[in-house]
């Protein structure tokens, strides 16, 4: 990304730091035992270590929900905001500070329900950030209510006779938005794939949207339990420009080559099937990035005052 620095301060000192996983946070998360969020957290830390992210230049923004506790368990900068509104906050952070690496952690209720409007527009802005949708198909923090991605018929506290409507497909939704530039899916129970996806998402310059299927052992265990045990229920998308994880080839027999530049195919692959497809559905680094378009030079106060005085001349009497 080689983003422009805000100032030359700090540049004189060679930053030879290397980081181990604990440097990115060593507190013990308060998620339930067996929650998929644990796996996502360790994959995120591994990705940061491998990419040598500077903790002080990294910001995790989240909304509200189980997954949105994420920033609290990292030793980077974090902003635990309000329900559904992580993306506007992250937009402001990245627009004003292009030198920061910005991540958003959101859940299916946070992103696809209360924050859906922001999600759509953030996708279109295509601001350079990595967005992790931790989708457990349920409201967990408020204890077992139907979310937009809860499967039809699944019984919850708010729809006790079974969820009324078919679940929203976040991939199709994201792929339907003009100027989407990166859409991928992975799952907490395939750590190697998760890590590879996170890396690809981070490296993509633009709005990298990753839906991570995530188990909730407490409220939506049946939704993913069989799948997590059964590699045959998956189909891995692979491509030289996508993700290839050779170590998975033996276990995950169903593989499909998919060129992530093919949007039409990505859209059809994103439709629900019996097998869950993991991989990069779509990637296009040439889509315009709002933060790059809007990037502005900085001027000194003296320069600005000179200009503002010229502007005031227009109003002078």
């Amino acid at each position: 990304m080689s983003e422009q620095l805000r100032s030359f301060f700090g540049c004189g000192l060679d930053d030879d730091r290397t980081f181990d996983l604990n440097d990115y946070g060593d507190s013990i998360p308060r998620w339930c035992v067996g929650c998929g969020d644990h796996g996502v957290l360790s994959a995120v830390k591994r990705m940061m270590r491998d990419q040598r992210l500077l903790p002080e230049r990294t910001v995790f923004v989240s909304g509200i929900g189980c997954s949105s506790r994420f920033p609290h368990y990292l030793d980077t900068y974090g902003f635990h905001g309000i329900h559904g509104r992580a993306l506007p906050i992250a937009t402001g952070v990245k627009l004003s500070r292009p030198d920061l690496d910005v991540f958003v952690v959101t859940g299916d209720g946070d992103c696809c329900s209360i924050g859906a409007g922001h999600w759509l527009h953030a996708t279109r802005y295509n601001i350079d950030m990595t967005v992790l949708l931790l989708d457990n198909a349920i409201y967990g923090l408020t204890k077992n209510q139907t979310s937009p991605t809860t499967p039809e018929g699944f019984e919850t506290n708010t729809q006790p006779h079974g969820t009324y409507l078919p679940a929203l497909n976040p991939l199709s939704t994201a792929l339907g938005v003009t100027n989407a530039s990166f859409v991928a899916q992975t799952a907490d129970w395939v750590p190697a794939h998760l890590l590879a996806t996170l890396k690809a998402a981070y490296e993509h310059v633009g709005f990298s949207f990753v839906r991570i299927l995530q188990r909730c052992p407490k409220f939506s265990a049946p939704v993913f339990s069989e799948q997590a045990r059964t590699p045959d229920l998956h189909e891995l998308l692979f491509h030289s420009d996508g993700i290839t994880v050779p170590s998975l080839d033996k276990i995950y027999k169903h593989r499909l080559e998919h060129d992530p530049s093919d949007l039409d195919r990505a859209r059809s692959l994103a439709e629900d099937t019996e097998r869950t497809r993991l991989g990069i559905f779509f990637k296009d680094a040439t889509r315009p990035c709002y933060n790059a378009i809007r990037h502005l030079p900085t001027y000194t106060a003296a320069q600005n005052i000179e200009r503002l005085n010229r502007e005031l001349d227009r109003y002078a009497v």
Binding site: K94, S96, L308
Partner: protein, 645 residues
């Protein structure tokens, strides 16, 4: 011209030849005129140019836009009246006054709109497009007749002017040129320098091809010439020369320029009337100063993006009006809780709900203070003049930064679109925001290192090595760790609240306009200042012991109010918001709902503060305020008489 118009129509004889001195010269200290047309006929532009030139000639000026609620209202309807009111005079003009003395109307329907609002003085001079009287359409001729009939109960002096007929001698589409012809009429009537006006026209059309300026100047000269030939009417208003450097602009321009001058570098907004022109102006110029304007997908996101930018090290601005403020509520609370500086500019309009989108009201005061669930203390300030719209942004940014708090600046549609001249600001580098500091955080520094006395603490922003923490809307301790214990929750609330007390302790009591003690004290806030003070001056001139004071800070409130109030027998607010009429059915002193400032002042001072408030969707008139003060004084003396009996 057929004599079909009402009897009051006068045709000024052209007995005085060109160049000869008009017989009819009025010498006045001030005059109020307005230009009204159908929307899109350019009356607003004509008014703006006239106002700018007046200001350049060192007249005191105050303008008010006459705005239809719709973009393209039907032609020739009262609802479609669009234009500009200009009150100008020898001395400083602080409000729009009581009534209009001269109108240029492009048709009789827009004139009727003004007439029905009681906006015109009894002896108002009316220059009106004459063609409608002889329109081929019988219905229109009838409408003209009816209108003339309707206004005939007043002593208006109606002067039909063949505007379109004249313009057609120069242009093909008179709809596009009448306004400049009208400007020519005014130039001649008020004896303005035509070259000065031409200059202003050229400046207005600087971005267009030179032919445009030329065509407009031609029409201006045509208007001047026609008036010389046909109008025996001159009005002379004296002026005082001054060397003071001044600028003239409207409140939204002033606020936008103030935001730039304050060094703010990020503004997020969503279009909303009447705040939009601040945003549009910033969209046009902000980038030249390295400032980012972000048009967000909604009001909520605008607040969120501003908070994100502030969190990352700036002090960001979001601009809105009432309904937008309602939507930003949750984010404002987040900024309060996380102590992220934020400046919110609320250009108030009529409410509740969508209310009166283009019209003025002061109804957001309580919402600005209290709209959040939970305790969310923040600073609220209200500029009273267009000059203060500029300077308040500098102070707002500074307070937001130093106190790590939300500052809401309340202006209104009256300030937003009114133009006034004021002393040219002398820009200062020290107003400018500090760029994000990336120094390493030393051990022991904490993100909420509250000073136990003041609640103040220093910000740590992303990029500072060693300062990593997660800010949260949940209750948190000094380290920003989530904490639900009773002690920490009590402490956090106290620290956020304490900052307001600290700010209040550095403030001075508001100054008194008039004597320091007396019978009645009028308290106001925001854009009503000029009208209130003019009303107070009039009533004082009648021998009454009336004074006024004007509050700039509404939260925390300036100190010393209780002591000031104790020096007056009665205290009342005058506000542009709703309160129950005490004489209305079912209304008792116990259930009467008061003006918003009155409500606050009673809570703050335990003084029995009365109020006189109105919601006309237009600024208050000094005459109406003066009447209310007189009524209050006489009611008070009656009560005293009763008590004495």
């Amino acid at each position: 011209m057929s004599p079909s118009s009402a009897a009051t129509v006068t045709r000024i004889a052209t007995d005085s030849g060109p160049g000869s001195a008009p017989k009819n010269v009025l010498h006045l200290d001030e005059h109020t005129l307005e230009i009204v047309s159908d929307s899109g006929e350019g009356a607003q532009k004509c008014g703006q140019i006239f106002a700018s030139v007046s200001a350049k000639m060192n007249y005191g000026v105050w303008t008010v836009e006459i705005i239809p609620a719709e973009i393209e209202p039907p032609a020739r309807t009262a609802a479609g009246a669009s234009g500009n009111l200009i009150r100008f005079g020898r001395d400083k003009v602080t409000n729009w006054g009581d009534e209009t003395n001269l109108v240029v109307a492009f048709n009789e329907q827009v004139l009727l709109a003004r007439h029905r609002l009681d906006a015109l003085s009894d002896d108002c001079i009316i220059l009106i497009e004459s063609k409608w009287a002889e329109d081929p359409d019988a219905e229109i001729r009838q409408e003209w007749q009816d209108a003339m009939e309707e206004i005939s109960d007043r002593n208006y002096r109606v002067i039909p002017v063949p505007m379109e007929e004249q313009c057609l001698t120069r242009v093909d589409n008179p709809r596009k040129g009448k306004n400049m012809f009208a400007l020519g009429l005014l130039a001649q009537i008020y004896g303005y320098d035509v070259e000065k006006i031409s200059e202003q026209i050229r400046a207005q059309f600087a971005k267009k091809p030179p032919e445009v300026s030329k065509a407009n100047v031609d029409l201006l000269e045509l208007g001047v010439h026609w008036a010389q030939e046909n109008l025996d009417l001159r009005i002379e208003v004296p002026r005082i020369e001054t060397d003071e450097k001044r600028v003239v602009m409207n409140g939204n321009q002033a606020a936008a320029l103030g935001a730039i001058a304050s060094g703010m570098e990020f503004c997020a907004m969503y279009p909303i009337t009447p705040a939009t022109s601040v945003s549009q102006y910033l969209c046009d110029v902000f980038e030249r100063y390295g400032g980012t304007m972000h048009q967000a997908e909604d009001e909520i996101a605008a607040a969120g993006a501003a908070i994100g930018a502030s969190y990352a090290g700036k002090v960001a601005l979001t601009v809105t009006s009432g309904p937008g403020l309602a939507l930003k509520t949750e984010f404002i609370a987040l900024a309060v809780m996380t102590e992220i500086p934020l400046v919110v500019l609320d250009v108030q309009r009529g409410g509740p709900s969508t209310g009166l989108p283009t019209k003025v009201e002061q109804s957001d005061l309580l919402a600005a203070l209290f709209s959040q669930p939970g305790d969310a203390p923040r600073v609220v300030m209200a500029p009273a003049t267009i000059e203060e719209c500029f300077h308040s942004m500098v102070t707002a940014r500074r307070i937001a930064k130093s106190f790590r708090c939300v500052v809401i600046v309340l202006t209104d549609a009256n300030l937003a679109s009114g133009q006034q001249q004021f002393q040219r600001p002398v820009l200062d580098e020290r107003w400018h925001a500090a760029p994000a500091n990336h120094r390493a955080v030393t051990s022991g520094e904490r993100p909420y290192d509250w000073d136990p006395d003041t609640g103040l603490s220093r910000r740590i922003v992303p990029g500072q090595p060693g300062g990593m923490h997660t800010v949260t809307g949940l209750n948190h301790d000094h380290d920003s760790n989530v904490d639900y214990t009773p002690e920490i929750n009590q402490l956090g609330c106290a620290m956020r609240s304490r900052k307001l007390a600290v700010l209040q302790q550095t403030m001075s009591p508001p100054p008194i306009h008039g004597d320091e003690s007396g019978e009645l004290l009028v308290v106001g806030w925001g854009s009503t200042k000029g009208a209130i003070e003019e009303a107070v001056d009039r009533v004082r001139a009648e021998g009454h012991a009336v004074s006024s004071t004007h509050l700039t800070f509404l939260s925390p409130m300036q100190p010393g109010l209780g002591e000031i109030f104790s020096r007056f027998e009665h205290v009342m607010t005058v506000e542009l918001n709703y309160s129950d009429d005490p004489a209305a059915p079912y209304i008792t002193p116990e259930n009467r709902r008061l003006g918003q400032l009155a409500f606050l002042l009673r809570a703050q001072t335990l003084v029995d503060v009365d109020c006189w408030t109105r919601v006309p969707g237009q600024p208050l008139r000094p005459g109406h305020i003066a009447d209310a003060l007189r009524r209050k004084l006489s009611a008070a003396s009656e009560t005293e008489v009763r008590v004495n009996e």
